[in-house]
């Protein structure tokens, strides 16, 4: 049943992303709320469920930006897999390590987004101006989301229910 709960939570985050994302933007950088959700979900569910949810919500998010169809779902699946595989080795008792891990995930995410921008738009302005801000801002947002979700579930982010 936990998968249903995470699915509903994902729907909540998806609509929050679409409805509230714009109002949370800073200098044109819209935070990706789903990224924090995917990271948290991948620490709680098995690999298959994690990547399945990541794919479903990544594809849904892509539909709102149809020109990058498949890119969001691909990066989300990759991130879900990476987090799911490597988060047990991270010392989650120390928030700095968790933040560092989330920063790494964000770098991966925006690495793919940057490649897309370079190929699709030949637009290097994104890399020079907005990429650093995007990474930092999204890292903060993702860290907050992961922490809040962990707090509300009264579970540490190192706990996995399915193991």
């Amino acid at each position: 049943m936990i998968i249903v709960g995470f699915y509903l939570l994902g729907i909540l985050f998806l609509y929050a992303q679409i409805l509230l994302g714009g109002s949370l933007s800073i200098i044109g950088v819209i935070p990706n709320l789903l990224l924090g959700y995917i990271i948290y979900t991948s620490t709680r569910l098995s690999l298959n469920f994690s990547v399945l949810l990541a794919f479903l919500f990544g594809l849904a998010y892509d539909l709102t930006y149809p020109l990058q169809l498949g890119l969001g779902s691909m990066t989300f699946v990759l991130i879900a897999a990476i987090v799911n595989l490597y988060h047990p080795s991270l010392n989650k008792e120390k928030p700095a390590y968790v933040a560092l891990g989330i920063l790494t995930i964000n770098v991966v995410y925006f690495f793919f987004m940057s490649i897309y921008h370079l190929i699709a738009y030949k637009y290097t302005g994104f890399l020079l101006l907005r990429l650093p801000l995007s990474v930092v801002y999204n890292t903060i947002v993702s860290f907050v989301i992961v922490t809040v979700l962990a707090f509300f579930n009264r579970l540490g982010i190192h706990v996995r229910d399915d193991q």
Binding site: Y15, L19, F55, L59, L63, L67, Q68, L69, G70
Partner: protein, 264 residues
């Protein structure tokens, strides 16, 4: 090992397949997925978008409405100001005269000014002060004139309520109390309304301020109502008046008789 990552690999491959191709291809695929598997999601997003669009339009219309209301109010004020200015105010010549004496008994008292026909003054010229209507010239001598003030019982003037546009006749009683009579019973005059000269006046141009309604009197059985006025012109202490060198052009007495015209 492969089975563990099978789903991950499949989903990655599906994502790559979706991403491959040109922009048009991605748009078509996105359109197809949005109309099939993700129809409920896309439909809800469109509905939400429509709600936000309606909200935005509503706010825009609300603001536009507020702007128009402010604009309308401003225009109304400008219109009221313009209505205080006579139609041909810029074309009316005038002369300023000093009040030098009174003529007649108390209650029938007229005003004497130190300007006459040598200054261009003629009988029936309107006389005003800086506050409003004062009266009309009834005698124009060479170097002085006599003015019939509006609080004289013989003074009559066609007036109207500036707000409600109801017409009436200004007249005064022997005690100098000024009132507006012949007001239709369905008129919506009210205390505080400003009364101005109407187009029906044979002496004054339209739009000169006369006074303000201080009391509305409705007498049962009467077919008209009446309003007591407080004139703007202050006769006590008045030293100067302005004589408008103006004559109404229309001479109604010269109009052909309709009864005779219709006769064979």
């Amino acid at each position: 090992m492969f089975r563990k990552y099978a789903l991950t690999v499949i989903l990655l491959l599906v994502s790559i397949v979706l991403f491959l191709g040109d922009r048009r291809g991605r748009l078509e695929r996105a359109d197809f997925i949005g109309k099939t598997i993700y129809y409920p999601f896309m439909h809800s997003i469109k509905s939400i978008d429509q709600i936000f669009e309606l909200k935005r339009q509503n706010e825009m219309l609300y603001n536009r409405n507020a702007e128009l209301q402010v604009r309308q109010r401003s225009l109304e004020e400008q219109l009221l100001k313009l209505q205080q200015i006579p139609d041909a105010a810029t074309n009316i010549r005038y002369t300023v005269a000093n009040l030098v004496g009174y003529h007649g008994d108390f209650g029938n008292r007229n005003l004497i000014i130190d300007q006459g026909y040598t200054a261009g003054i003629e009988v029936n010229n309107p006389v005003i002060s800086s506050n409003g209507v004062v009266g009309k010239v009834i005698v124009a001598a060479a170097n002085h004139s006599i003015i019939l003030p509006l609080n004289h019982p013989e003074f009559k003037l066609g007036v109207l309520d500036r707000r409600s546009r109801d017409q009436g006749l200004l007249e005064s009683d022997a005690g100098g109390k000024v009132s507006m009579s012949m007001i239709p019973l369905d008129a919506t005059i009210a205390v505080g309304d400003t009364i101005i000269t109407s187009n029906l006046s044979r002496v004054f141009p339209r739009g000169f301020p006369v006074g303000v309604i201080s009391k509305v009197v409705k007498i049962p059985g009467e077919s008209y109502q009446k309003a007591e006025l407080q004139p703007f012109a202050k006769f006590a202490g008045m030293e100067q008046v302005i004589v408008l060198l103006y004559q109404r052009e229309t001479d109604f007495d010269e109009l052909p008789n309709a009864e005779n015209q219709d006769a064979p």
